[in-house]
């Protein structure tokens, strides 16, 4: 079965489970690109990271249908791999079934305990049907016997950025979640979400498409890459601090190979992305916040804006956002990101789950 990127962060948590008879507090982010599960283990946190995708194949000996998920599925069966949450939520029953299969495989392969209190970090998308489908996935899952809660992904993702505990729940701040399928912004006032803002126009997936188009342009049409390859280029090479041109090789249809160098395509795409994010935040989200919540607007802009989500992993993007938003707003603003934006939503959800268990909320 798939080998996940599971790692322990020994200094992350002070949980005590198992011997106390309490349910295990677990944080889950079912993301459109990656799913992350944070589980307490040996005084630290075990984080399971896997691509949210699966592929099926027939066992040549038994004839049984087998399921692969995550990186293994994407690598071994690129022709039939399915990303089950491509648009952020399961769009239909078939998507919900695929997601449920994927989730159960991950749970099974990683021994995620059933006697658990599970907090899900979920994007704030106005999509009732998608939420209903996701709810069926969550309700059908074996984990979360003791308690199930969901909180906005942007809140969960901000928790690790604002301290070692749940300081985010007792503070006033603005957060921007730079995800694959949506750009979300919200203000939080002591845990209460204010002016949730979501747009599907500025996304990590769109950056992947732009990179694919720019690579074609940069190579004068000699190289066509798919969006998965474009995402890999972005994740491996995008860097506002220290970008270096890189080379890759493609196999030609008629045989032989073609080596090419990418100098501009990746950084042009992420550069435009940051401009678009700043435009949305400065001219759509913040004016709405200022209009409705003057005190929160004033307080939140004098404090660091928290950036979360997969796109926040790009080195230097926090500083770029800070600089460009300051210029747009004609005032200094500060931005911060959690140490690992890709896992912060699950880690934050796990901390909330831990505190709910401590508070006997189950």
């Amino acid at each position: 079965m798939s080998e996940d990127d599971a790692e322990s962060e020994a200094d992350e948590t002070d949980d005590e489970t198992d011997t106390t008879g309490e349910p295990t507090p677990i944080g889950v982010k079912l993301g459109s690109t990656r799913t992350v599960i944070a589980i307490p283990e040996d005084g630290g946190l075990r984080t399971i990271k896997t691509l949210t995708c699966l592929a099926t194949y027939e066992d040549v000996i038994t004839g049984e249908e087998k399921v692969l998920y995550g990186e293994e599925a994407a690598t071994e069966y690129p022709d039939r791999v399915k990303y089950t949450l491509r648009s952020g939520l399961p769009e239909d029953e078939a998507g919900a079934e695929l997601t449920a299969t994927f989730f159960e495989e991950v749970i099974e392969a990683n021994d995620v305990p059933e006697d658990s209190a599970v907090v899900y970090a979920i994007p704030t998308i106005d999509n009732e049907r998608g939420l209903e489908n996701l709810q069926s996935v969550i309700e059908g899952s074996r984990i979360g016997e003791a308690l199930i809660r969901s909180y906005p992904e942007s809140l969960c993702g901000s928790v690790p950025a604002m301290g070692d505990d749940l300081q985010a729940v007792d503070d006033i701040f603005v957060t921007v979640n730079m995800g694959s399928t949506n750009l979300e912004a919200s203000a939080y006032r002591r845990g209460e979400q204010l002016v949730p803002f979501t747009t599907g126009a500025v996304t990590g997936n769109e950056v992947d498409r732009m990179i694919a188009n720019y690579v074609e342009e940069e190579t004068q049409g000699r190289v066509n890459i798919d969006n998965t390859t474009a995402r890999e280029y972005k994740e491996e090479h995008a860097d506002f601090v220290d970008f270096e041109p890189f080379t890759d090789v493609i196999q030609q249809p008629g045989g032989g190979s073609h080596e090419f160098t990418i100098e501009r395509s990746v950084m042009d795409a992420v550069d435009e992305y940051v401009d678009d994010v700043v435009e949305e935040i400065a001219n759509a989200f913040l004016p709405e916040l200022a209009n409705d919540y003057i005190k929160v607007y004033k307080l939140a802009l004098d404090r660091p804006i928290v950036l979360t989500g997969g796109m926040a992993c790009i080195p230097g993007i926090v500083e770029e956002f800070e600089e460009r938003l300051s210029e747009e707003l004609q005032r200094e603003v500060e931005a911060v990101a959690p140490d690992d934006p890709a896992t912060s939503a699950a880690v934050g959800a796990q901390r909330i789950a831990q505190r709910l268990v401590d508070a006997d909320a189950y």
């Binding site: 704030t124 809660r149 992904e153 729940v169 845990g191 979400q193 913040l286 003057i294 307080l299 909320a361």
Partner: protein, 170 residues
């Protein structure tokens, strides 16, 4: 179970954040999870006009000006707020305002600001004295580091003073 992240229980989250014990799940069946913020924040209505100035700044100032205009009228004289009105809504506003100022600049700076508001005729002596007493009960530990009150903060203060004065006139 409702997994819509927009409908989470804010009270439960805050209690978990503060480490307070919560009643068991079965004891809370039927409780209304929603919370409304009755005392604060103006009505919606979006500023779409684009100018050379940042849109968010324009929206902020427009929002303040709109609220102040609505609260202005005949009979307004200095000090705008001679004494604090006695009402539950007013108490809520007072804590919200002083907490805002304290988070921006710390309690000592807020005390100076209240004295300044008295000097310029926004507050009467009785109101300032009462606000100083309230201030001692505000937690100043979460003040934004190295920040001071700027003209926009004072605009927000004027907004609160106007709302309290309007309550006094009722």
């Amino acid at each position: 179970m409702a997994i819509d992240p927009r409908n989470y229980d804010v009270a439960e989250l805050r209690a978990a954040g503060s480490g307070e014990p919560l009643p068991r799940q079965e004891e809370r069946v039927g409780e209304d999870a929603s919370e409304t913020d009755a005392a604060s924040d103006a009505e919606s209505g979006r500023e779409t006009e684009r100018t050379a100035r940042p849109t968010a700044t324009v929206a902020f100032e427009t929002s303040i000006a709109r609220d102040l205009a609505a609260l202005d009228g005949e009979g307004v004289e200095r000090p705008y707020l001679s004494a604090l009105p006695a009402s539950l809504v007013a108490e809520g506003l007072i804590f919200e305002w002083l907490e805002f100022l304290s988070m921006q600049a710390g309690r000592e700076t807020v005390a100076d600001a209240l004295a300044f508001y008295e000097r310029v005729g926004w507050l009467g002596a009785d109101a300032t004295e009462a606000l100083d007493r309230y201030l001692s009960g505000i937690d100043g530990s979460r003040a934004t580091e190295g920040n001071d009150l700027d003209p926009d903060d004072h605009r927000v203060s004027l907004h609160y003073i106007a709302r309290l004065a309007a309550l006094s006139r009722r």
